[in-house]
Symmetry: C2
Subunit: 456 residues, 2 copies
């Protein structure tokens, strides 16, 4: 079998794959701080060129280039990939056992900033492409590969890039940057993400801090913020904006069937954060429905007046609150921003609402044949069942690809529950790297063969 020869090649060249991951992770590429970005983009582009890809780094007036690589395949099928070459800042440095940009393998785990998020999955996919080419001289499917450098700073240019290259960005499926195995060690397949609306509420009082003796007659910006927020969400946890829940779709029966399994993660998750119960209190299964299928309304920051120890008797001059909604499909951050502003105006609130960021939900149906193909090919490689997440509980720029097309987007591979993504001692298990490489190879082979997932 051709695929077995490819698997064999992946195994016998695995040291090379690890060496390539080492090279990628030894190159800092911190988009938030502008460190090593052009060097990393050049490194990624060179690796695609080595594979014979048609590569064009797309630059912008500001920000970092998108690497867009295309490789022709032997079937009419076309698979897209999305990764990013930037990483989070490595601090706090004193909590790393080995320097973040000096990769080190300990007990089968590979430690470095970016190993899990997401240079590991990028290197694994490159290794799968390479193994196919070395064994068969080509690829079973055409590949379009997008690697941006601004994911960790909110992907400010990705929508414009995708919009400008719609014709070249069609395909039969898109493999997203990556997913982490669940707390039980089962690989995860994730089909979407939530949208986001992050705003800052600002209020003003006297032109400078005033003596608190005037507290009875001067407007107080902290009270303005508190009252406005009280109109947004109540102590029962429900959002009070008119119509907020109108477009929230309950989980389908197929999705609903997934929550028993996902609920197994709830206890360990709460425990890791010193919590005994969710807010509002819910059983584990219901907590997972909340996490994946319902919108959130989270205060991420608040400030105003005196912050030090003890008290200072003032009427402060200004106050703010940062408020983030995560939205499920059919909710729209633009509509919500308008609704929020209108609600606060209608209630007579004297606060300004400034947009910090917005992003759109994106979701691939659970029963999409591509999702099933990814699952089935993966379960053969991993030898264990996948945990299906109907969506991420977080956000991401999938909508750059899905807002104008119905391409199915699936995230798999790369990390485990202890990968410490964004944290110190970020790591990936080398065995996971190997499995993800084989999974991608198996998926390409199956797509070319038009394998009917339902009959496996």
């Amino acid at each position: 079998m051709e695929l077995e020869r490819v698997f064999h090649r992946i195994d016998e060249t695995f040291d090379r794959t690890v060496a390539e991951l080492t090279a990628f992770c030894a190159q800092p590429s911190i988009s938030a701080q502008g460190i090593g970005m052009q060097e990393m983009a050049a490194l990624v582009a060179a690796r695609f060129r080595d594979l014979g890809a048609d590569v064009l780094p797309h630059g912008f007036d500001s920000g970092y280039p998108v690497i867009f690589a295309r490789l022709a395949g032997q079937s009419p099928r076309r698979l897209l990939f999305y990764n990013h070459y930037d990483v989070q800042p490595p601090d706090p440095l004193d909590q790393w056992r080995s320097p973040p940009f000096q990769p080190e393998v300990r007990d089968g785990f590979f430690y470095a900033r970016g190993a899990a998020d997401n240079k590991g999955s990028l290197v694994a996919r490159l290794a799968a492409l390479r193994a196919f080419r070395e064994v068969t001289g080509g690829l079973p499917v055409s590949v379009g590969y997008v690697v941006e450098g601004e994911e960790e700073v909110g992907s400010p240019h990705l929508v414009a890039f995708v919009d400008a290259h719609r014709a070249a960005l069609t395909g039969d499926g898109l493999i997203w940057e990556g997913a982490s195995a669940d707390q039980q060690g089962n690989p995860v397949l994730r089909l979407g993400n939530k949208g986001t609306l992050h705003v800052e509420l600002r209020a003003t009082g006297p032109s400078s801090d005033a003596h608190a003796r005037f507290g009875g007659i001067f407007p107080n910006p902290i009270w303005k913020i508190v009252w406005a927020l009280g109109l947004v969400r109540g102590p029962d946890g429900r959002v009070r904006l008119p119509g907020f829940y109108d477009s929230v779709v309950p989980p389908s029966p197929a999705e609903d069937a997934l929550y028993d399994r996902l609920g197994a993660d709830a206890g360990p998750l709460l425990g890791r954060y010193g919590l005994k119960a969710s807010f509002p209190p819910r059983p584990a299964r219901e907590m997972m429905v909340e996490l994946y299928a319902r919108p959130t309304c989270t205060l991420t920051g608040i400030g105003g007046g005196y912050q030090g120890p003890g008290g200072k008797t003032i009427v402060p001059s200004a106050a703010f609150a940062k408020l983030e909604f995560k939205l499920v499909p059919e909710q729209n951050p633009d509509t919500l921003l308008e609704a929020l502003r209108a609600h606060l105006v209608a209630e007579g609130c004297d606060v300004e609402v400034q947009l910090l960021s917005r992003g759109y939900p994106s979701k691939t149906p659970l029963d999409h044949p591509f999702a099933d193909l990814v699952r089935v090919t993966g379960e053969r490689v991993y030898g264990r069942p996948f945990t299906i997440e109907p969506t991420s509980s977080g956000t991401g720029p999938r909508y750059a690809f899905t807002r104008w097309s119905s391409i199915p987007v699936v995230a798999v591979g790369g990390a485990h529950a202890g990968s410490m993504i964004h944290g110190p001692n970020e790591n990936i298990q080398l065995e996971e790297l190997r499995l993800h490489t084989k999974h991608v190879a198996a998926l390409m082979q199956a797509m070319a063969g038009g394998v009917d997932a339902s009959r496996t």
Copy 2:
């Protein structure tokens, strides 16, 4: 007339009075920073000994001594005085035209930290005592003089001191540290102060900041604080604690008659802080009723989560709010603290209420004969009417003296509306210093003679 000779002596020794104020203000005495405190206490004690007073500095295990000076008089009447020898920190230093502890006279104004609050009135009163002794060989009334060193840090030892010396702290009236002339330049006579209850509300969420994806299931400490505060005061400005307004007494007809005059200050006050209207919107006169006769509920600080530019998608681990009530007579901070805690518990709020500071209201009746004597003797000296404030809009430690006795307490003299108390370029008008000196002399003389104020 004896008083005219005393006035003459005050005038001819006025340079000496200014020199004494210079010496007092050249000595830093910053209680909050522990700078120059023992030196200043020694300076004050020495000045009282020069007058022949019986002086005993009373120390405590911590903090700074109280100077308690007693001088016998020629009548059975006894007048008490309260001042403090500590000052506020002088920063921001770059906003001073001359160094804060190098006094400088410019255009009849004396500039130094402490000049107005309140070394000026202390020096004026010492000058009045000295002039009487030099002219008549004695004092018309007995004097008990308390000068503490911790007023600017909340007078933590004053209650204990006064309680320990109740027998020696009786008298026919008490002249409080000082008052500032109003915006129209009329001297102010102030008869009380509000009480205070300053608390910190604290709430916790996950044991460390968590990803905002968990916003739908993790408790959020900022939301807890916001919901708790919404139960304390509503957007109409009304405090929502059960019974909060029950013991608030409406102004008496005599007090009510004062608010037309006090209302003249409302426009300039709002304008100085860039405000066009009060909150809630009220006419000027009503604003003054609010300022003096009603309790306040002021958020003095709030904090939690991400405070920097842009957004950071977290569920924060902790949040706090600082909340200060200013209370009118018949309201009690101890009762209120209990009521606040009980209210939040009853409403199911998961917040902790920590006491930051508390103080009690104190008020001398408008029609007290001592208050009238102070006013009448003052109007003769100043040649213009006094503005009567039934109470201060702020707080202070008068209750240390009034909680166990019915001694009338009146604040007069020392500063003007532009004295920049607690601010840079603090100053006093030399002419005000002279007038306050004469006013105190006239008051002592009148007390000794049992002058009936109503017949002047």
